[in-house]
């Protein structure tokens, strides 16, 4: 167990470093930050000066070393664009993204598992066929279009739900700003959460269905039926639980991509999260923010992976003895 966590941590550090290197190397190509930092009156000489002051002219290893040494202390510098400490900026935006990701993740998980189980158990009936087909729309249209269409229908035409933003927010503790506790906050969450969750829901649903169909054919399910267990016990106690083992992994990985995909949803709904921050930062070549965001994403993944592994560990007793063959 300790060994396993240790190994995970070592792997995580390597992952983080790799992401840092890759991300950092990439920034050299996304554009010139100075051009978007200064007004048009700034002379070329002044621009060069700023570049020098920002350390953009240092050799790559120097820049990287500086970045990493500061990053491990939690210091990602100051945003070129907003002149605010990046860490603070990201932390202030993170709750919005996490709430959105969590809610859509939970929605996706529950609907995904529910529909997946239903369509697996009722294979061939028209309702499960329809669910299967309709759910595909979630992966057959680009997210941004789904978002825009939802706004059009529910905000503009029907005026049921807000079209943008997070509504009213209140603070929990010092910095966690939540929209979940206010009515407008919850209303604002609905459309973005659907937009973001639809894709994941489809994936989870399909996965659950496929896994469930596999599991339903296993001997132990047959044996469970032969023992006269009720359908409920067999389908949910035995089949679903076994289905969830792989589903947890994928859902865990999806959680990360939910956060990444929130870039689009946040942009469409002007959701004040880190994704929108990132995409604006790309436009403005706000390197410190971009770097911090990528590190954050990597961190989130690493943490989620760890949680998933621990969950795995909790769910599947086989792994408690021998981990070496667990991950494929």
């Amino acid at each position: 167990m300790i060994a396993f966590i240790l190994r995970r941590i070592v792997q995580s550090v390597i992952v983080m470093l790799t992401v840092a290197i890759v991300a950092f190397a990439l920034f050299r190509f996304v554009g010139d930050p100075v051009a978007s930092m200064v007004g048009q009156e700034t002379t070329l000489a002044e621009r060069a000066e700023i570049r020098q002051a920002l350390g953009l002219n240092d050799p790559f290893p120097v820049q990287f070393f500086n970045f990493v040494t500061r990053a491990v202390q939690g210091d990602f510098g100051v945003s070129y664009r907003l002149q605010q400490p990046v860490m603070e900026l990201i932390l202030s935006r993170l709750p919005a993204t996490l709430e959105l990701a969590l809610v859509s993740g939970v929605l996706a998980f529950f609907f995904g598992v529910g529909f997946g189980v239903y369509t697996a158990l009722r294979r061939g009936n028209w309702l499960s066929g329809s669910i299967m087909t309709i759910s595909l729309i979630g992966v057959s249209l680009p997210t941004f279009l789904i978002g825009v269409l939802l706004i059009w229908v529910f905000a503009v035409e029907l005026q049921w739900l807000p079209s943008f933003g997070r509504g009213d927010t209140v603070y929990i503790g010092d910095w966690w700003r939540t929209g979940l506790l206010t009515e407008s906050g919850r209303a604002s969450l609905i459309l973005p959460a659907i937009t973001l969750g639809l894709y994941q829901m489809t994936l989870i649903m399909r996965l659950v269905r496929a896994e469930m169909l596999e599991v339903l054919r296993t001997d132990y399910i047959k044996f469970a039926r032969a023992r006269g267990l009720s359908n409920r016990a067999v389908n949910f106690g035995h089949a679903l639980k076994n289905t969830l083992v792989p589903v947890i992994t994928i859902t865990g990985l999806q959680m990360g991509s939910i956060i990444a995909f929130s870039i689009i949803t946040e942009t469409v709904f002007q959701w004040p999260g880190v994704g929108a921050l990132f995409i604006r930062s790309v436009q403005f070549v706000d390197v410190p923010v971009m770097a911090a965001y990528l590190m954050l994403i990597a961190l989130v993944f690493v943490v989620i992976n760890l949680i998933v592994d621990l969950l795995y560990y909790a769910v599947d007793p086989r792994l408690r003895v021998d981990r070496s063959s667990a991950r494929g």
Partner: protein, 332 residues
Amino acid sequence: MTAISNKPPLLSVRDLVVEFPTRRGTLRALDQVSFDIAEGEVLGMVGESGAGKSLTGAAIIGLLEPPGRIAGGEVWLRGERIDNLSVEKMRRIRGRRIGMVFQDPLTSLNPLYTVAEQLIETIRTHIDVSEKEARKRAIALLDRVGIPAAARRIDDYPHHFSGGMRQRVVIALALSAEPELVIADEPTTALDVSGQAQIIDVLKDICAERGASVMLITHDMGVIAETADRVAVLYAGRMAEIGPVRDVVQAAEHPYTAGLMGAIPTLTQTADRLTQIPGSMPRLNAIPQGCAFNPRCPRVFDRCRAERPELIARASGRHVACWLYETETENV
């Protein structure tokens, strides 16, 4: 067909037909299979792979996998017809009155639950006892099937057990609600030579102890010979021969059974060549007219190719489906 004793049989299967509708027509996997199992009796069921042994078991316990379905015939359990019961009623029979043991102990147990959980769940599904009581019963049962330190090991997960031990657990599970009939579908095939005998012994002893009847499905004639009271031989979904084990093993009447017995190498005799039945069992979509065995039969004659033989009662409760014996029947 008459039962071997005066008491009504525990299980009576009458003209059971199981079909699989497929794109190329309906396959008849079991064709008018009839047999009885008496109380306390061990009935062996042998036949080549695909003969329909497992299907018979699955059909009795109502677990045919779709699209397979019972297309005809009846199954009676202690005078009660069970092949047409509602799903819920049938569920209550499974485990409680008919237990089942599958071939592969490695995959029969849900890896995510402890043995205790699975046992207690089963017991409490059928018998109204407290959790504690169920656990006590479970431990006793494990102890009975020969799991050392049962009280401690009951909380282990299946993967903590070796293959032989797991099969014991499976047997314990099948017997946990004290069924009257146990259907064991090749319970030892996945085990080692040395383990096989142990498992068969456990199964047989416990069932005898509790007065449960056993339907032992296997393709190992040796196991049957040692364990069963009577043996039924299936061929291509049809009953070829059924009778007391000694009769069938030592003096098979159906040419197929005879061939089968000759094909088994033994430790004692040293023939240079084994008797061999030419060809192989027909596929379900190509079962020949008349007797299903006729193309391979060394004693085939015209009638065999045209008419399907019924089970014919022979001396000492033996039945054979072969035209060779028709005339003799009349004498009986």
